[in-house]
Amino acid sequence: MKKFEDILVQCIEDVKANRSSLEDCLDRYPHLRDRLDPLLTIALDICEIPDVKPSPSFKIRARVRLMDEISRRSAVRRWPWSRYHNQPKPTLLRRRFSMVGVVIAIVLTLSAAGGTAYASQGSLPGDTLYPVKLATEQVRMALPGDDLSKAERALTLAERRVEEMEALASRSSADDLARAAEAYCDAMDRVRARLKRAADGGLITANVTARIAEATARHLYVIDAVFDNAPDEAKPAVERARNVSQAGHFRALQVLADEHPGKATEINLAAMEGRLSRALAAAQETNAGEVENALRQFEEMSQFGLEIANAAWQQGAGEEAVVGELVAGATLRHLSVLDVLADQAPDAALQALIRARQESMNRHREGLLAMCEHDPARATEINLTAMSGRLERAKAEADNTESVEIALQQFEMMADFGEAISRIAHDVGSDEDLVEELIAQTTLIHVDVLAEVWEKVHEQARDAIEGAMARALIRHETRVRAMEQRGIALPDHAGVPAHMRERVDERIREQKMWEEREAALSPGIPGFAGGCPGCRR
């Protein structure tokens, strides 16, 4: 005879799967009806409890942190710090990373917590009491104060309009939502006008400007979500609000960049991660248009980073290096998120993704170059971490030849950056030995990882790996010879596994011949470390 608990479970499953109704189940077991009925009712009520999901921004934030943590632990364990135990430890690097992390966390957490922050219980456009709320705000704006404090008050009003937009997005009134969006644009206009008057009047605007830059990054994030949920008739107004928010963000950063380029860079990088977060959320909804839009904004913000870097360069006093380090570190994270996006983005967004990747690679290089005159060892360290990240990507995507080849292209470009840093370290005579040894030691690890990847990939991806191994071994050999001349012995490579040795040796011969020919044709010009075109079959 069937046990009661089995009958109970069967009935629950049947009702949940719509195979039978509650009444049918009870009719099937009339002698158990009194016992079954209340328990089934409770079970089915529990099934109705709403599902919960983590927010997309949390998922990305946590993933990036997790990957950072994993790569940091691996890197520290494997890198040859022991030989340089009396060298300064990379605390500055970590501090900088964590500063960026803090800003990102603030922006994303505040954005993700929008449901709390913006779930205003106050009146909304269309409510009877809303005109009273507006009148109160007007009184507050008219209170005495200088232009700076009035700019802050106007920003508070803009924040309220964003709250209202978020609350209205789920309602069906397009008119009310459009009105809130237009009121947001008005409030931001007031912020701009008051801030300009404050600056013209000689007031120090840095703190308020930083607040505006952070707030608008947050607004942008919330308005994106409003746009997604808005009725079609309200979308043009919401789109205008989004543009106003982005323009306000850029203007604030432009002002801040002149006074505090480091702070402006942190805010800009956090906003860029916000755009990537947006792109990822849109990719999960297979909304190619919004993925492209978010990546376009990401690119614009990245380009704007160049202006900040320029302002830092004009300031001098090492500010350029500080900004460069922030950017180089952040691009590691950006490339990781773009990897995730590459796996999820709709086909129509691929071109935007390709541009965003290229943009990140360019910023990575420029960040490294900006810092390497001041601290080539640190620049090398960041670049080697980035190279390891690309190899990890190749390993993770071993079954996808195209992804492996892309990761290796990025790896080779970064190897080029490393060569450039090495030359600069030599020219400025700073940390030259440390840079050379870091490259030599880490290159050995890279060769080992490349050999691992070689084992896992399809045959057609092996050419690219063999080429990368050949060039890595040449880089290593060059370092070993150079260090020997200075009386420092470096460990030699244990060797390429026997079954791939012949193919890699052939690539090394081809690469060396190509380099000699290039050197003969263009004496004095460093070779293109990306390698001879013919060596990539």
Binding site: I46, P50, V52, P54, A62, M67, L353, D399, N400, E402
Partner: protein, 189 residues
């Protein structure tokens, strides 16, 4: 340059897990993508607070990466192993916060009213039911939440709780009976 498309077979979790055992961070990232929603949900229904759920979810994955060698020996489904880690972290969470009751009615009410999750839509009746669920004993609560709210199969629940499948059904029956008593008492009072 940089053309890229995902060509991932659906049933490759075993391959990914093996790569993670070989310390492949990329593969671990992929497993994170697959399981983060379930781990978060599992924790959220036990701490009833988004901030703590996010914090603990991150800890689960970091611990999983650190202890992956131990997973090799258990041979249980990967998600079951992640939930075991989650379960232990939730126990530690409450152990280190002795001032917190397992569920605080005010916390539940305010969190459900303001969080962006769909818990915000919960009716008063549902909140009453949640509170009753959280008055169940440890195993009973686990089984009810995992089966009805998280949609786990009986075999998976049995694996996480280290019990036989038949025992899980018995626990579920007892839990529903106890819920009935709790709800009736509440109505009377």
């Amino acid at each position: 340059m940089y053309q890229n498309r995902r060509q991932e077979p659906a049933s490759d979790e075993a391959v990914l897990v093996q790569r993670v055992i070989d310390r492949d961070a990329g593969a671990f990232g992929r497993l994170y993508d697959v399981h983060v929603d379930r781990v978060y949900r599992h924790i959220y229904y036990r701490v009833w607070n988004r901030t703590d759920a996010e914090d603990l979810t991150q800890q689960v994955f970091l611990k999983a990466w650190q202890a992956i060698d131990r997973y090799r020996k258990t041979g249980s489904p990967f998600i079951a192993w992640l939930l075991t880690i989650s379960h232990n972290l939730v126990i530690d969470f409450y152990r280190t916060r002795k001032d917190r009751a397992y569920i605080e009615a005010e916390t539940l009410a305010s969190d459900s009213a303001s969080s962006p999750e769909r818990a915000a839509e919960a009716s008063l009746e549902q909140q009453r039911l949640w509170r009753a669920v959280l008055k169940l004993s440890g195993d009973e609560q686990q089984v009810v939440i995992m089966r009805f709210m998280e949609g786990f199969e009986f075999a998976e629940i049995a694996s996480v709780l280290n019990k036989k499948e038949g025992n899980v059904r018995v626990i579920l029956h007892r839990a529903l009976a106890r819920l009935r008593t709790i709800l009736e008492k509440e109505r009377e009072s």
